[in-house]
């Protein structure tokens, strides 16, 4: 792993050894070389990126900016002023946002340089990036494998060494699962930690933006730059914001690490389980105290999520009606125009979820489906509150399997959904979660998931960082990538 980290780039620029332009050029070169086969990017804006790098290299005001000169990529559901943003959907194929998401403004202030927008499942609905209306992204560790999803383009771009960090969004695991599948570090912050202003909404009570990086420490540096209260997002939190990089190297002595008694293990591959168990042993050897905790309602999380998320999506996606922006189909009446624009503009997975959500919310089924799911959400949240009386962080596998084959689960939506079993509960409870690479099985990466208390990303990052210092598995070179 010799592709530079965010930290190394910052050090090199601060020392005057390199300039922003060097790193942006390197990133653009890597994209030109690799992305024809990887297909992680939906858009690359070389001219704008180089101009931004030059501005940063010239202007004194950026000298102490926290991410000065660091190239990055943003998932294509994060709106960028003047730069096409599609959410990988035909319905937004030509949408040029008139404003920036708050995270994009914040990264600009931090003097990071956006090089492009990454592929994803359409409207972030999927676990493999295959529901994108435009292209399928490969996994850098196996060209015939999915990169995970829905933020698969961002994960693949970081894993292949095309950018040192990328932004994704996580509604049911869409940062953590692709991080696990591609051997990246991925962090979903606490709900409300990062502003959702300008994140194209999927399920508003679950969505959260977070970084993909190579290390936990890099994720801390990016989180520092993007988090905090935003008057433009009324659900963004006023909780105090620490410096997440401070104290990250304090080690795990005395940290209580919870492992789940009776973890649902249906479909859990033995190799994944072995890698996770070994990581837990290493944390214990470093001084962590391993305690068993119960999450009795975890087995209901997938069912709960696949009612709540589609219900919210059916409401959020009602705005795509062909009127003010987005695709409009020719029609002779307004209603026909709505129906045809939406039917031509949305792909099958999006239609499937709109229909499930509309059904779960419709009169006669509301109590049986949506309301019961919300009640179960309460029990899942309470499970975590109880568990965190006994531990400081909870570890599980991030996903039950390594990256599956392209096309393998595309015709079986329920099987695809079940891949999210370990990541979904944290979204339902609003908790922060991360995935840290913990091994390889048959050449494919495995992720260890860490879940923390609300607004305690610091403990997750500290435990992940401690683990990164002692992990000792062999890290193969990606098949597609400049990383070594």
């Amino acid at each position: 792993m010799s592709t530079p980290t965010v930290k190394e780039i910052l050090r090199s620029i601060a020392a005057g050894e390199t300039r922003a332009r060097d790193w942006v050029e390197q990133s653009l070169r890597a994209i030109r070389e690799i992305d024809g086969r990887l297909k992680a990017f939906l858009l690359v804006d070389e001219e704008q990126a180089l101009a931004a790098a030059d501005r940063i290299d010239r202007a004194k005001m950026y000298q102490n900016a926290p991410l000065r000169g660091v190239p990055y990529a943003a998932k294509d559901n994060i709106v960028t002023r003047g730069v096409r943003t599609t959410a990988a959907s035909r319905i937004l194929e030509n949408y040029i946002p008139p404003y920036n998401a708050t995270v994009i403004d914040k990264l600009q202030q931090a003097a990071a340089v956006m090089v492009g927008k990454t592929n994803m499942d359409e409207f972030a609905m999927g676990s493999s990036t295959e529901t994108s209306a435009f292209q399928k992204t490969a996994n850098p560790y196996g060209e015939d494998r999915v990169p995970g999803g829905s933020s698969g383009g961002s994960a693949a771009a970081v894993a292949a060494g095309l950018v040192p960090f990328a932004l994704g969004s996580d509604t049911g695991g869409s940062i953590r699962q692709p991080a696990a599948f591609t051997g990246c570090f991925g962090l979903k912050p606490t709900y409300g930690r990062v502003s959702r202003y300008g994140l194209i909404a999927f399920a508003s009570s679950l969505d959260q933006i977070g970084p993909f990086t190579r290390t936990a420490e890099d994720a801390a540096l990016v989180l520092n730059a993007i988090c905090g209260h935003d008057p433009l997002d009324s659900t963004s939190s006023r909780q105090p914001v620490p410096n997440f990089a401070d104290g990250i190297d304090r080690g795990v002595k005395g940290v209580r690490v919870g492992i789940v008694r009776h973890l649902p293990e249906e479909g859990l591959e033995p190799g994944v389980k072995a890698a996770v168990d070994r990581a837990i042993q290493q944390l214990e050897a470093e001084g962590a105290e391993i305690v068993e905790i119960d999450l009795p309602h975890m087995e209901y999380a997938v069912a709960t999520y696949y009612l709540i998320a589609p219900a919210e999506a059916s409401s959020n996606l009602a705005r795509y009606d062909g009127v003010r922006y987005g695709r409009r189909a020719e029609a002779s009446s307004l209603i026909e125009m709505y129906e045809r624009s939406r039917s031509e503009g949305f792909g099958m997975e999006v239609k499937r979820r709109i229909i499930i959500g509309t059904y779960a919310l419709s009169s006669g089924y509301y109590d049986a489906y949506y309301k019961r799911a919300q009640q179960m959400r309460t029990l899942i949240r309470q499970d975590y509150e109880r568990a965190f009386e006994f531990c400081d962080v909870i570890v599980t596998p991030t996903a039950p399997t390594t990256a599956f084959r392209l096309g393998e689960k595309l015709d079986n939506p329920l099987q695809m959904y079940l891949n999210d079993i370990y990541t979904i509960p944290a979204n339902l409870a609003g908790l922060p979660g991360a995935s840290v690479p913990c091994g390889f099985v048959d050449g494919l990466p495995v992720g260890l998931q860490l879940i923390g208390r609300p607004f305690d990303e610091a403990t997750i990052l500290r435990v992940a960082h401690a683990y990164e210092q002692v992990r000792d598995f062999a890290w193969p070179k990606p098949v597609l990538g400049v990383a070594e």
């Binding site: 030509n94 949408y95 040029i96 008139p98 404003y99 709900y191 409300g192 009570s205 659900t235 087995e299 209901y300 069912a303 709960t304 696949y306 009612l307 059916s314 009606d321 009127v323 003010r324 922006y325 987005g326 695709r327 409009r328 002779s332 009446s333 307004l334 209603i335 125009m337 129906e339 939406r342 039917s343 949305f346 099958m348 239609k351 499937r352 709109i354 229909i355 499930i356 509309t358 059904y359 419709s362 049986a368 489906y369 309301k371 019961r372 799911a373 919300q374 009640q375 179960m376 959400r377 309460t378 029990l379 949240r381 939506p413 329920l414 959904y417 339902l428 409870a429 609003g430 908790l431």
Partner: protein, 100 residues
């Protein structure tokens, strides 16, 4: 309880989606699989459990009603598929009406 073609067509109509017959025949069994799986929730007693609509306790947020800069009309219309005299134009609202 199995859902039928008729139910799915009706729900699609509510959601302003038009489904191709082929899409419908693909969707119905998939939706039945998903709803059958979701029926797990029917087997648990949830009497008296408060529903959660949001992960944390939230209160309404208001701001003072002071005018501030916003998108210009031109910018706001830039993505509009059709416009006329600074407004978004849509097909006739009333069926059969040409000039409504």
């Amino acid at each position: 309880m199995k859902i039928t073609d008729e139910t799915v067509s009706h729900v699609a109509k509510l959601a302003r989606l038009w489904l191709h017959p082929q899409e419908l025949s693909q969707l119905v069994p998939q939706l039945n699989d998903i709803l059958e799986y979701a029926a797990k929730l029917q087997s648990v007693s949830l009497d008296g459990v408060e529903p959660t609509s949001h992960p944390f306790h939230e209160v309404n947020v208001v701001r003072s009603d002071v005018p501030r800069e916003s998108l210009s009309r031109e910018e706001a219309l830039r993505n509009a598929p059709d416009q006329d005299q600074g407004m978004v134009r849509v097909p006739a609202v009333l069926e059969g009406g040409g000039g409504a």
